[in-house]
């Protein structure tokens, strides 16, 4: 018998939960098809499907779903309303299931997390397995094994980043953005590549230990309630002393970012900030100029600081 194929679109929450999902389905014995890295054709496909005003990440996501549609039996479309109590997600994640369901005519695997109403992640996985006609024990084992692998990968990344923070003498720039923008080939990867070419170490704001940062966001904004924005703001405060400058990267027109970035720029005035907004028309040449000049500014600033320090010491 042929294995059932499950498609996972490489967009939005994939960058947070991809490892978990892929391993979970592997453990249960399904074939997992993940769509390739974002490219121009996926973007243009998504653009044609989405509403003009939806954010770039959403357009890319729909492009990925369209890519998978005739290659798999089921597609996993997560719906996440809240991950922690008293917090919320961007409404795009809340509506994701219904948006995809109304645009495409496909079989969707249900994955609903709403902690405020008691639907936890574990319950979501149990339900998902049950719908695919697996036994309870099997699902449980697969879930635990998958979480362990995902957790180990996360810890590994954290250790790597911390080593970089302490070890490297290069300029360090914090890239602040949602994971689904930061690692996307058309959005964040372009920028981190440009920075690497300029011999700058990129620190990713979405790699952190949640226990250490989860209350630090209050220094920038007391009332923000989107989970990912909270985490990013906390992460900025956490890394603030170790970095030379930071880049706020968002896509047009991201709802939460439009306000939190404004707060960030207004409150964090001691280190250089650049706010980059990307839409589907942004050319790479323009980006390159902006980033190069930003790095130049940081370099000059640092040289000046070193000079002043030396004079004081003498």
């Amino acid at each position: 018998m042929e294995k059932i194929k499950i498609g996972i679109p490489r967009g939005l929450l994939y960058y947070k939960y991809g490892d978990l999902w892929e391993n979970f389905f592997h453990e249960l014995g399904f074939e997992v098809v993940t769509s390739p890295e974002t490219n121009k054709s996926i973007l243009s496909k998504g653009q044609s499907l989405a509403i003009d005003e939806s954010c770039l990440s959403m357009k890319i996501y729909l492009g990925h779903v369209a890519y998978l549609i005739d290659k798999v039996d089921y597609i996993l479309v997560p719906r996440i309303c809240s991950l922690y109590k008293k917090e919320k997600m961007c409404t795009n994640f809340q509506a994701l299931y219904d948006i995809v369901n109304n645009i495409f005519d496909i079989k969707i695997i249900n994955y609903n997390v709403d902690v405020e109403k008691g639907a936890t992640e574990k319950k979501a996985f149990m339900k998902m397995g049950k719908n695919l006609e697996k036994k309870r024990k099997q699902i449980k084992n697969a879930y635990y094994r998958a979480t362990r692998i995902a957790k180990r990968k996360k810890e590994h990344r954290l250790i790597k980043q911390e080593r970089l923070l302490k070890g490297s003498t290069n300029l360090k720039i914090l890239l602040v953005s949602h994971s689904y923008n930061m690692y996307d080939h058309l959005i964040g990867k372009v920028i981190s590549k440009l920075l690497n070419e300029l011999e700058v170490e990129v620190i990713y704001a979405d790699i952190f230990d949640r226990k250490k940062i989860h209350k630090k966001y209050q220094e920038i904004s007391k009332k923000v309630y989107w989970t990912y924005s909270k985490e990013l703001l906390g992460s900025i405060i956490h890394y603030y002393d170790f970095i030379d400058g930071f880049i706020l990267l968002s896509v047009f027109p991201c709802g939460p970012d439009s306000l939190t970035n404004e707060m960030c720029i207004r409150k964090m005035k001691n280190k250089p900030i650049i706010n980059i907004i990307i839409d589907e028309l942004t050319g790479e040449a323009g980006l390159q100029t902006r980033i190069e000049s930003f790095v130049d500014i940081i370099k000059q600033r640092k040289e000046k600081e070193v000079k002043i320090n030396n004079e004081e010491n003498n």
């Binding site: 005003e53 961007c90 409404t91 299931y97 219904d98 109304n102 609903n112 439009s258 707060m263």
Partner: protein
Amino acid sequence: MKKIISFPHMDNYYVPITFLLKKVTDYEVMHPLPITKRTLELGTKYSPEFVCVPFKYNLGNYIESLERGANVLVQAGGGCRYGYYAEVQEQILCDLGYNFEFHSLVDNNQNVLINAYKVLKKINNKLTIFKYIYYMALTLKIINYMDKIDIYIRANIGFEKRKGDFGNLLNKMLEEIVNIKGFWNLRKLYKKYNILFQAIQINKPIDCLKVGLIGELYTSMEPFCNYYLEKALAEMKIQMDRYTNVTYLLITKLFNKRKVLKKCGCYCKYLIGADGTDNVAVARTLALKGYDGLIHTKPFGCMPEVGAMPILQKLSNDYEIPILFFSFDSHTAEEGIKTRLEAFYDMIMMRRNKHD
């Protein structure tokens, strides 16, 4: 220093809000100036680049009020970005160098009414819970009656025999409603005006065109923001129906949560955030009722409504009901809206003739 309290503008709701604030605080209440082009320009100048348009209007209102001497500001909140407006606006006004107190009546993790009491208690220490409940209930009742009359006006204003009858009477009512003394008084006033409104002569054909107005709360309620959409529709002699009003948002919605998903049918499996689900539910109900068309309004980039749009589009195809989508921003051209509205009118008119 004398404390003067002010708040953002939205349609006629400044009347009940002024009433409430006058009763529960001992500050002087300054209701905001009606929105003009200057309000929007001021707001746009100091707002983040791609925030939604109500933010800009509210900020403009605040700046104008501060210029006129207000020093206490209040803001409400909602399920989308709206809940986060207060903090950012406070920061922006602070950076502009104004001296003021800022209070947000809504906290996302708490019931609106409880949180509002806490905030008002902070403003006025002498406020007892009984006084608060009494005046809050009275204000909600005023809002409720205003909305009820509004619904009647909206359905009939296009067909009035003498132009301006409805508007004049409404203004008269708003002037009187501020001076009410209690529930009994209010009820009498409502009954009186209800009869007066019913008595206005109208010339309404039985098979007039019917259009439903759905969409984001601010753009559908504030006439300046939607470029007097309802006025334009009234001139075209169309019966309008709109569910979004403050009564719905504050009260009906609380008791409506389960029903809403049922009303959406197969179009929504989950709540899609803020008022998105309600819009889909209303759109479906109106489609089943046989309305001629729907008009959906939202500010540019509104998160929940952008999520609801693909669903509405599918619904529009399935039920064969035309939906006109408007997206308002600080730069929306008025002529473009007029042209689209006229084309929409012609289209539903033609459809009507075809079916007959």
